[in-house]
Symmetry: C4
Subunit: 197 residues, 4 copies
Amino acid sequence: MATMGKGRLEAFSDGVLAIIITIMVLELKVPHGGTLADLQHLAPVFAGYLVSFVYVAIYWNNHHHLLHGARAVDARIMWANMHLLFWLSLIPFTTGWIAEFYGAPWPTAAYGVNLVLAGFAYRLLELAIVAHDGKDSVIGRATRHSHKGTISLVAYSAAIGLAFLAWQVAIAVYVVVAIMWVIPDRRITKQLPDHPA
Amino acid sequence: MATMGKGRLEAFSDGVLAIIITIMVLELKVPHGGTLADLQHLAPVFAGYLVSFVYVAIYWNNHHHLLHGARAVDARIMWANMHLLFWLSLIPFTTGWIAEFYGAPWPTAAYGVNLVLAGFAYRLLELAIVAHDGKDSVIGRATRHSHKGTISLVAYSAAIGLAFLAWQVAIAVYVVVAIMWVIPDRRITKQLPDHPA
Amino acid sequence: MATMGKGRLEAFSDGVLAIIITIMVLELKVPHGGTLADLQHLAPVFAGYLVSFVYVAIYWNNHHHLLHGARAVDARIMWANMHLLFWLSLIPFTTGWIAEFYGAPWPTAAYGVNLVLAGFAYRLLELAIVAHDGKDSVIGRATRHSHKGTISLVAYSAAIGLAFLAWQVAIAVYVVVAIMWVIPDRRITKQLPDHPA
Amino acid sequence: MATMGKGRLEAFSDGVLAIIITIMVLELKVPHGGTLADLQHLAPVFAGYLVSFVYVAIYWNNHHHLLHGARAVDARIMWANMHLLFWLSLIPFTTGWIAEFYGAPWPTAAYGVNLVLAGFAYRLLELAIVAHDGKDSVIGRATRHSHKGTISLVAYSAAIGLAFLAWQVAIAVYVVVAIMWVIPDRRITKQLPDHPA
């Protein structure tokens, strides 16, 4: 399989992620009145935007490190990347649903399903890069033990079930996992030499 | 004709394609209720989004290889590229129409017309690059036999007619051709040396 | 005045122009029915999208050549560029107005006013670059005689008046000027050496 | 802490800022009629778009200089940058609110709160870069005395209070501070050598 440069894949991913993160704000519709109460009605939408903004920012950050460590891009990596972008592109939708019907079990579960699928897609992207670069490459060594990824997938799955029992707990899980990820992916940064440009 | 660098044309195309692929998700409007049934009503819109996401991803991928192989960009290539982006920019619209009125012949046919016009525009872009680079250039040799392109145009044309007879078959054609294209354009990748950046 | 690199200004302009050109398609709303007649109602919106797509593509192309020829970017050029992007960002709005109320004099005139202001802003950007690079620089020599720019501004101004007398003629002017510009700006390309990257 | 290159952070920020600045025009909805009076109803929305366009342009410009002067990007800078983008991404929302309910105290105050939070986030980004690069670095020296930043934060805070007493004065403050910032950030440009690319 011929490989190709990483530049345009990064540029395209940056574009899609920038649009995803910004498009969510369109869900924050101008209130129907000019009072504080009108603004307060938007609190759940605002909270949903905040959490999802952090999730997309986390993905951008980890994606940045992952692609930086990759040697090159082949067709399998390209499609694994598109697959990841597909699930991430649904985050504005599931965010809008959970925010507008907060407390309802299905929207709460749907948000978790979206996170599971995106997390799974990210893992597939890691594996596609390892398949190309080799197990002893930077990414091969960095992704050998993906504890944080595994914990996240387990937590999201638990939250999907909890959505039907105690939606507040499910939402707390989404928030806590996001906070856990704000700490950067040291698995990869540890392996990488500092680079000034 | 003065030539210009490829960098900004690729960057602009990446931007437009990133927006096209992401803007479609705006058609996935937040359901009016919080139940599973509310979500199920969106199944055709979701399916349409998926297929069109794959088509735009295919175009991005092939466009990437095509421009990578091109020597430089002249005015004719620039306008051929804009012409391609124009038809691709209508995909969110035709996707929205076929998804909202699935089973109706005109929307089903319109989707095929859009794919024919985009496929034709892609072929014109190939020809514009060959006209610039020469028949023995990388792209000249790579695009000599465009079997997959020809098959696609024939299949889309058949689907346009089938839209009025058996819309399910027309849609099956759109899906099958997309799957065929997910396999990367080896015509060009075969000609290109591996490149790590 | 400290100068800065051109890279990020080009990247930001590319991003804004890519969004402007694509956002217009959101005005092409999914028809309320699945018949050919439902599609035909969109003919004026589609025609407006086509003409404005060509105008934004022309600006992108000329902007590309202009910035390529510029030596560097200072604060004056940065703001002249923002000023141009501002008027171009209104094109989706004036396009939507003229398309939805075609035949009405004010929307027809507003489209021309938008084109005049964008054309004027482009000329100011040229002058800002000449002020930085000098009259004998590439851009200084290339923009000395801006016949096409002057003709366009005169034509748009005439169309603004014609909007109240014979709107069809005004629209014909917009279309004819666009076609005139599809031919690339040889003033600058003539001055530039071919460059392969 | 491993550092990373600045390229993708700049590219991602450019993308987000380009979308923010352009998405605001979506608030400029096509008027319900084709007369001049229909257009005049949009005057407050247009004025709000203009002021916010200038603010986002200012942030882009200052961000450009700040990142250009920075040596590299670490996780703290990355998150400080995301934090800034978050508040800037709310500008289309607060602009829409103040424009649709101009004269109402809460929307007028909310716009100021947004500006305070964005200004504060920008200052945090400066501090994160200084923490990485050192107090005697380009950015360390350039940001030592942030008079303009301090004046702006004081002015916005005053405007938040004034929103409930004399909204016209509050809006005048927003406009005057924007004009003050159109003059580029010489603190940094003074420290930087001219660079042609």
